[in-house]
Assembly symmetry: C2
Homo-oligomer: 396 residues x 2
């Protein structure tokens, strides 16, 4: 895999936290990294120029959505996803598995793949491990992901065991199906909330050997402690010299807890999705700008924040935009939340380098008010419903 | 009126076209000028920084909308509209009359004013000439507009005559009500499609004396030739040394035809509204990016265009964004259409300076395919319905 390298640079002496550099054909990614989600080949409300200005180093795009519309062949014919979406930096595409498995009533799984209906037009499609790689090779992202079987939470041990065996067979087929040498393929550790299955999965996948590892099936409704326990079991079994991506995570507080457990890469639609509902991240917790108390508030969302939204506009104006359903409001909230996540990650990397990560983590946790987990779960359920029932602008 | 000046600089020898400079407390406006519409205190999808980059020199905001939400007192308390929307350049607010009169079933007019219901929450409000000035003084735009009575098209001579008498009495009251000296107040010439009434209106308003004149009640459904005829009658009766604003106009072709008839200032939501439907202006006419022929088109919307949308993205990608209802698509179409209108106006000013305006106009007309007027009318009716029935993101 000559187009890639991953080097660990600094380690925290009290936790599993580490910094590193992931080199890809489209540039370097300093880790730990937060990747904004560009579901349909665009990070909602953001131009590529603005992503660049914010310091984004990696963007995630969803294979499921792009395969259906405009079609991966169309994107390939136009020169690949980088050219299509005019983003010259590194891109990661997922396998499409998570989206397909979240549409419970629209898909049928068998040993060789999964048959599903499009949420766009109801047409029938089939993804196999080989097909998932073929589509991702057409898209041409720098980092691609093996097709896995995602289980809902909660689900029993037997169900997870069966799903895991399929995930492992599919992982092998994905490795064999890969024809491009300029894409890093991540295997996906599954196993639900069962430690023995997570262990089995990590050992099996590392035995067949991937150039990087993703951890899937977490942050799907289980308590935070369970997610942390699964990471505590899984990460030590993964090779130290390969990057580790935690799929679909996380919130600001997740960054600290999961970096501390050895995660190098994150992607999550949360910061951009809640932005479009008027929620701004602050060091004190989430601020919903729709609250009437901000109607005449002349101050910025967060004092001292260097983002364009906080530098240029009052809470009163941002509230007005959101209440009046103005697109600029959704955009400015997105700018702020992405800036927040990226700045947090920069601080985390610097703290690891300077051997004061535990202090940064303690400081953050002591001031940041975490929203109860159930709220995120309801967000997620609402999202899953929306995915196949509508195409509203706000859908991720 | 020491805060303002208007100087005519160049004249076309074949038409009434002229260039000039309008100086305001927030900067100079080279004329003829096209002002983008920022209905609710934001030009939809655009940040003030982006407006500045495009070379926007004047923004229009709607008094009716801002009075209702967030409220003109709120904006005054926050330091006025410039500070509120973070736009440091010149702003023009209309009187609110057009919006109120377009809601036929939600308002009652009498000799002293008009009582109406809010499209936001159904609450009852009343605008009189004095109130319209008071609200616009709270907002604090550089250029404000007298409250006028707008008639629908078609409507008979008698109806227009009665409305015109009210418009004239209200114009006087607005002049008397004005207390700020840092705002230029425009009187509004009305008279529907009746030449004698337009003549009467122009003579009356100039006799009481405004620092600038707006022409209202045109482009509301009448044939283009009638609009041109009304301008041919009205403009020669207005003082040569005062700016002339044509309210709510226009399309690209309107800029040429109305500049040729002596108009200095335009505002229109058309370029930004059609953008959000996927329509891009080109030198050949309107291009609807939703057309299937663009699905795999790697070229820009307009070859040679210097806007960010054309410099960075293919027709195929822009079509994908619009089809997938992605906000970036609406934004890029808006950027392109505003760039198109502003570039056209720059070319027009340069052509007038260099005494080749008639040639530019002929060249444009020969290549630009005009969409039939009825389409714009249906746009307008749809807009009027939308105004009081919904708050969709796309509404202007």
């Amino acid at each position: 895999m000559p187009d890639f390298s991953f080097q660990v640079q600094n380690r925290c002496s009290h936790t599993w936290a580490r910094t590193g550099v992931l080199r890809t054909p489209h540039g370097e990614v300093p880790t730990p990294v937060f990747a904004p989600v560009g579901t349909q080949g665009t990070v909602k409300t953001m131009s590529p120029r603005e992503l660049d200005e914010l310091g984004v180093s990696l963007v995630l795009a969803n294979t499921y959505h792009l395969y259906l519309r405009p079609g991966s062949e169309v994107i390939a014919d136009l020169g690949g996803l980088h050219k299509f979406m005019a983003w010259e930096g590194p891109i990661l595409t997922d396998s499409g598995g998570f989206q397909i498995f979240s549409m419970e009533h629209l898909r049928r799984i068998d040993d060789d793949g999964v048959t599903f209906r499009s949420h766009v037009d109801g047409s029938e499609h089939r993804f196999t491990p080989v097909k998932a790689i073929e589509v991702q090779e057409q898209l041409g992202a720098d980092i691609i992901v093996a097709l896995d079987v995602c289980t809902p939470y909660p689900s029993d041990h037997e169900h997870n065991h069966v799903a895991l065996q399929r995930t492992h067979r599919w992982a092998e087929r994905c490795l064999q199906a890969q024809t491009r040498s300029d894409q890093m393929l991540l295997g996906v550790v599954q196993g639900g909330t069962y430690g023995d299955l997570r262990e089995e999965s990590a050992l099996y996948l590392t035995s067949i050997g991937f150039s990087g590892y993703a951890i899937g099936g977490l942050s799907v409704g289980e308590p935070k402690e369970v997610m942390h326990e699964m990471l505590d079991i899984t990460v030590p079994l993964l090779p130290d010299d390969k990057p580790r991506h935690l799929l679909g995570v996380g919130s600001p507080e997740d960054l600290f807890e999961c970096v501390a457990r050895g995660i190098d890469m994150f992607d999550c639609a949360l910061p951009t999705r809640v932005a479009r509902n008027g929620t701004f991240f602050t060091r004190e917790g989430r601020l919903n700008i729709r609250n009437a108390r901000y109607k005449e508030d002349p101050g910025p969302v967060q004092e001292g924040c260097r983002c364009y939204a906080c530098q240029g506009f009052s809470r009163a104006y941002l509230r007005h935009l959101v209440m009046a359903k103005e697109i600029l409001g959704l955009h400015l909230a997105t700018v702020h939340n992405l800036h927040f996540m990226l700045s947090l990650m920069t601080e985390i990397r610097e703290a690891i380098e300077k051997r004061r990560f535990p202090a940064l983590r303690d400081g953050f946790v002591s001031s940041y008010k975490v929203v109860d987990y159930g709220v995120r779960m309801r967000d997620r359920e609402a999202w899953a419903r929306r995915l196949h029932t509508s195409e509203e602008v706000a859908a991720d």
